[in-house]
């Protein structure tokens, strides 16, 4: 690993979009701290494939996340780029999903990342530079059937991004939001299981509503995130929400 590269921390990087972001940032010369909920085989595999630094910890556990950030900064140096990506999601009607399970989506996606951002911001402000990229979701923008808790967590992150950008921008820290549409990740298998449909049918159902004619790829989302994390991209897009979604449009209010 290049010891001179800037330090990036990516949460939820054991699979899907998070893993693709790690691969991309590592290729771009960042020293990447790779967070996943537990230190299992998947995390070790991503570490081995990218040469990154393992940083396991449950985002919903404020103390564990504090210790994780402290260790990353002690070993690698101050975090310059944070990609807040980890998420939990269950799809079920609002009145049917058990209440505590419904709230776990808020605990990880919103509250966990709020506390994580609080942890890394002071170092960024001290350095006078930093890039925070929040991974939200198209569903947090337009809302989605059977995804009330997930969409709530993501619209909360979008609002957090707006205001943090205004507050931290003058201090050299940009905060941007990416709201991917439907992406080909292992989460789709969960969606298919929840819907009781084969995976291929799930792909076709989603693709039918997208002008580009297909669902997205994780590396396409990683490209957007790498752009926003870069010096030029971060200057140009502070506080905005980018929508890599193949042209899928409903009400965008």
């Amino acid at each position: 690993m290049d010891r001179e590269g800037p330090v990036a921390l990516v949460t939820g990087a054991g699979q899907g979009i998070g893993r693709a972001v790690v691969e991309r940032l590592a290729r771009d010369g960042y020293r990447v701290a790779i967070n996943a909920r537990v230190d299992d085989g998947r995390l070790r595999e991503v570490v081995a494939a990218t040469g990154g630094f393992p940083a396991p910890g449950d985002i919903a556990d404020e103390r564990a996340i504090g210790a994780m950030v402290d260790e990353v900064q002690a070993r690698l140096g101050p975090v310059e780029v944070l990609v807040a990506n980890a998420a939990r999601m269950w799809m079920a009607p609002f009145l049917e999903l058990p209440v505590e399970q419904w709230w776990q989506q808020l605990d990880v996606n919103l509250t966990g990342h709020l506390h994580l951002i609080e942890r890394v911001v002071p170092g960024m402000v001290t350095a006078g530079r930093g890039r925070i990229v929040i991974v939200a979701s198209y569903w947090g923008v337009v809302g989605w059937e059977n995804a009330t808790g997930y969409a709530a967590s993501k619209s909360g992150l979008i609002a957090l991004g707006h205001t943090l950008a205004a507050e931290l921008g003058p201090q050299g820290v940009s905060v941007s939001v990416v709201a991917p549409g439907v992406i080909d990740t292992p989460q789709l298998e969960v969606d298919a299981r929840d819907a009781g449909k084969p995976l291929a049918e799930m792909h076709a159902i989603y693709a039918a509503g997208i002008p580009a004619g297909r669902i997205g790829r994780a590396d396409e989302i990683a490209a957007t995130i790498a752009f926003l994390a870069s010096p030029d991209g971060g200057r140009a897009y502070n506080g905005q929400v980018l929508h890599p979604n193949g042209g899928e449009i409903r009400c965008m209010t």
Binding site: P93, F94, H115, I117, E118, T148, S155, E167
Partner: protein, 205 residues
């Protein structure tokens, strides 16, 4: 609803008696012919709100309109809030809204009829000043929740929308919007209304 009919007046439940907005909505809906139920329960307490809702339905009648109240304001700058305080803030926003919906929706589903309006603090939209990140994050959750719930509930005859409460003013602009939605808003599903009142808020960022 029937205008000036002789039957029982439809019941509206307006949560959030504190501040200007809740009472303004209650007055406006009462003037429009609704029987507005007072709610004293803490909506962030699921058991308490469920009991209160069942009491209203039993004593006054089935709830046709639910308006959820605004959560607590939080002027703190970022990094200025401890974890327990954040949880309390999120509870006053999203937990109160979801608890109220969990309590009221089963009756609306059974009746295949009803309307829900969630109120969202202005801080959750871009362009608010000063920036209030914690209030934005807590209040912003209500937007995604409402839009998603709207898609689930529309086929069941229940309309769900959001109204953003301006950061200053009398609450009349919000009340007018809620009354419009109740009386003539049949074709709105999962929308966010942002009435402007006073000098503080501008659209866009």
């Amino acid at each position: 609803m029937s205008e000036g009919g002789t039957g029982a007046r439809p019941v509206a439940l307006v949560i959030g008696a504190a501040g200007m907005v809740g009472p303004a909505i209650a007055r406006r809906l009462a003037a429009a012919g609704y029987s507005v139920a007072p709610l004293t329960a803490d909506a962030a307490d699921g058991g308490s709100i469920a009991d209160a809702v069942h009491g209203v339905a039993a004593e006054i009648g089935p709830i046709e309109v639910l308006v959820t109240g605004l959560g607590e304001a939080a002027p703190a700058e970022f990094t200025g809030l401890d974890g327990a305080r954040w949880t309390q803030l999120l509870n006053s926003h999203l937990r109160a809204v979801t608890n109220a919906c969990r309590a009221v929706l089963p009756g609306m589903v059974a009746a295949h009829r009803g309307m829900v309006v969630t109120l969202v603090p202005r801080a959750a939209l871009p362009g608010g000043a000063p920036s209030r990140p914690y209030e934005a994050a807590a209040g912003g959750t209500i937007i995604g929740f409402t839009k998603s719930l709207a898609v689930e509930m529309a086929p069941q005859g229940i309309r769900v929308n959001c109204v953003v409460a301006p950061s200053t003013g009398t609450g009349d602009a919000v009340a007018d919007t809620v009354a419009f939605l109740a009386q003539e808003g049949d074709f709105y599903v999962g929308q966010v209304f942002t009435p402007v009142e006073g000098e503080g808020d501008k659209h866009g960022s």
